[in-house]
Every structure is written in structure tokens, then in C-alpha cells.
Subunit: 262 residues, 2 copies
Amino acid sequence: MLAEVSTPPVVILVRPQLAENIGMCARAMMNFGLVEMRLVAPRDGWPRKGAHQAASGAGSILETARLFETTREAVRDLNRVYATTARERGQMKPVVTAEEAADDMIGLADARAGVLFGPERMGLSNDDVALADRVLSFPVNPGFRSVNLAQAVLLVGYEWWKRASGGRAPMAPGRTPRPATREHVLSFVDFVEAAMDKTGFFYPLEKRPIMARNLRNIWHRLDMSEQDVQTLRGVFTSLVNALRSEVRPPPPVDGKDGDPSA
Amino acid sequence: MLAEVSTPPVVILVRPQLAENIGMCARAMMNFGLVEMRLVAPRDGWPRKGAHQAASGAGSILETARLFETTREAVRDLNRVYATTARERGQMKPVVTAEEAADDMIGLADARAGVLFGPERMGLSNDDVALADRVLSFPVNPGFRSVNLAQAVLLVGYEWWKRASGGRAPMAPGRTPRPATREHVLSFVDFVEAAMDKTGFFYPLEKRPIMARNLRNIWHRLDMSEQDVQTLRGVFTSLVNALRSEVRPPPPVDGKDGDPSA
């Protein structure tokens, strides 16, 4: 379904070093619906042990990953290429955030976008960056810019998925509890006010209207569900009943009418 | 500076299992300006070897992390608490995305927010979630929801930082090259058209206006800088010069006037 709206960007790992990081990139991709990984000259060859375990269930992405000798070969069929980098390159390319890149990718429709990610320690070379149309940079703490490889992939995927899916939380709709009817809420409010009248809560009496209004505002602010109303009504009923037994006449001297639980 | 606008949320790792993951959470936090980590009953105790190496320079966050026995103790002083979870909990709490939570946190000003993250495999318990005001859930591929612990922390930090910092890329402003003056661009366009007139490019002649306009549109779409104009002008000059030597009269038979590089 999503593919009809926008083709997910290709993730291109250029000279990645650790198999575990390649696996974690696959996992991050799958979290956000990216499917195609390309590897340019992985330092230790490919395939490598350790990648699958780190992929944690996203092994299918590793199995279909394509291997290239050069970055140029890896981007040949793509219509738009982004180079992720945290440093200035002086290449005079437009710099976009992951969010802006996602908007841009969605606009490409079925044209294909790819994102270049450099090796763990040194990032992309200037020659790699030169192959890109745009530089992609994350808004990040300027005092600590080094983002882990899989986390950079994650942020690109996350922003793309937010745009492609509408960005809603994955919970089923209707999670917000259905509010109680006003009738139930008001009946509860009246019940509580009557109880408070009995306890002498509204004192002095000339302040009763404003005190009652404040109390009502609290109840309404709760956005109560039917269940909430029932629960709170139970709480007050229980207090009122306990109160009644408190203020009832003292038991006879032999104590036979006393409440053993009191 | 940022602290005056909004206090970063506290990251609360509940019963985390692997020291390496705790370290990677610290790194993700520092990438996005989060400073306070709390640990609730880490499985293998605390401090632990391996955390610092994974933190990759964010060790200060680990050193100041506070240890708690229960989640309840860890959230006591917070004004708003979010529970990250990918599963339905049936707790009838409002569900927000990381983006919505970030907006909400920024609105809290100096009141303190905290985010609960569950153990790697099983996530938060229902009792942990019950301590929260809101459920925080990521828009994620419904077929692959399991987000790595440090990556969940990263997304919360990323969205908070985007709101708190204005979300711009960290490059210095003015990275977009200064466009060339229209005068330079038009002078270049004229130069190219004159050259093309000489080559017979504009053929048939009645199509010259539309062909010239199409070509001009291409040049303008390039958003050329002064440097770009100079470079392209050099390219055409070089072609035009080569062309002149091509079409000059053939050399005398002894070849002495010939161009040895032709």
C-alpha cells in the first residue's frame, strides 16, 4: 500500500566496518518500512557472521542486500541521492534535515531516492559526497555530533515513515476512552455535592456557589469515561456509607451491634 | 541556553539488562542534549563494565546517573511521566507520538518531564505504565515494532531537540551558495546562445524561440552561483575554441600547421 504512495529510499552503507552495525541498520530499516540495502565495499567482506544476530529478525534485508565495489556503481539507477554528513564539506550542495529529505522523497513518487551513510569512524569521503544531490544533516547537539551508524539510518527511516504513514502512533484508533455522557457526569457531580453538603464541606455557606463551581471544573477536566464515573462514584459512596456508620448512635454497652471491622 | 526554554526530559531506564545498551542510551541522549539518566534496578547491578565504551564519549551521563530500587521512587519529583510502549495496555491513557510528547514537554517550561523505557526484551510492566500520565508510542512498521532500547531513547531525544532547538540542520547558516547576479547569468545565456547559433543547434530556425527558451529555463533552474557561471562559461568557451580549430581551413599538405593534439 505504501509503495503506491512513495517508494522507500534505498539505504547505501559505504565501506561499513562492523558486521554488527550492518545488522543493526537492517533492524532500524525494518522498523520503518525500508527494504533495500546496498553495501559498498564492506571492510571485512560480505556476508559476515554477526550481522544476522544484530538484525534481530530483519535478516531478510541482509539476505537481499546488494554488494557494489564503488559508490558510483551503487547509485547509478537512483533519481535522487542524499549524503549524510555532520561536517562541512565546502561542496556547496543544498543541506537538508532528515525531515526535509523525507518531504522531498515523498514528492518523488515512484522515482527512487537513496541515502549514503559513511563508515563508522570517518564518515563519507568528499568523493562520495560529490555523487549526491543534497547533503542530509541531522539537527543534533553541536557539542556531540557523532551519531551511531544504525541510529543515523533509523532517523532517516523514521522521518520517511512518519511522512509516508501519516505519522500516527501505531495503536488502534479509538484508544482514547469514550467519554461518559454528560448525564452521567452531572449525576455524579450532584451526588458528590449532596454528600459534601452533609459533611459541612461548603463552609462558609455564602462561598458555596464558587466552591461548588471549582469542584465541578475539576470533575470536568478529568474527561471521565463511564468507567471513571462509576469508579469515582463508588469511592464517594463508600466514604458516605462509612460516614453514616461513624455518626450513627453509639452501640449498646454489650457491643453486640458494633461493627467488628471498625 | 536551551535550559531556559525547556528542561530536557529525564530518561528512566527500568530494569535494563545489558550494560552496552545503557551506554548506547547515554550516547543517544548526548546527541540530543538530554543530560539526566535514572536507572531502576538494572539487572546486573550498577556501575557495570562495558557501559562506558558503548557511550563513546558520553560517559559523563553515566557517571551522574542515579540509581533507584523502584520505578515509583524514580518518578517522584517529576511533573509529567511518559511510558514508552509498543503494545496495547488497556490502561485507557492518552497515547501520544514522540513528536506530540516533545510539543507537550516544551509546553511544560521548567516543570520536569521523564520518560520510562522498559527492559530490552519485555518492555515496561503494567505497573510501570500505571505510573505514567501518558503512553508514548512511535509511528513504526506494524509488522516489525520492536525498537532497540537506545533507538527508542534516540527518537525521544531527537524529537525533543528538534522542538527545543528549532530543528535546523547544524551546519552554519549561509551554506546555500550565494546565487550569481542576474547580469552574470544572462550574459552567460547570451554567450551560449551565440555559440549555438554558430553550430546550427537552433534548427529549424522557426523553432529557435522555443528552443532558446527551453535552454534558458534549464540554466535558470540550476540556481547558479558566480563560481558555477564561471565554470560553465569556461566549458563552453573551451568547446567553442576547439570548434574554431576544427572548422578552420585544412592545414597545408606538409602538416606543419596541424594541431598535434587534435
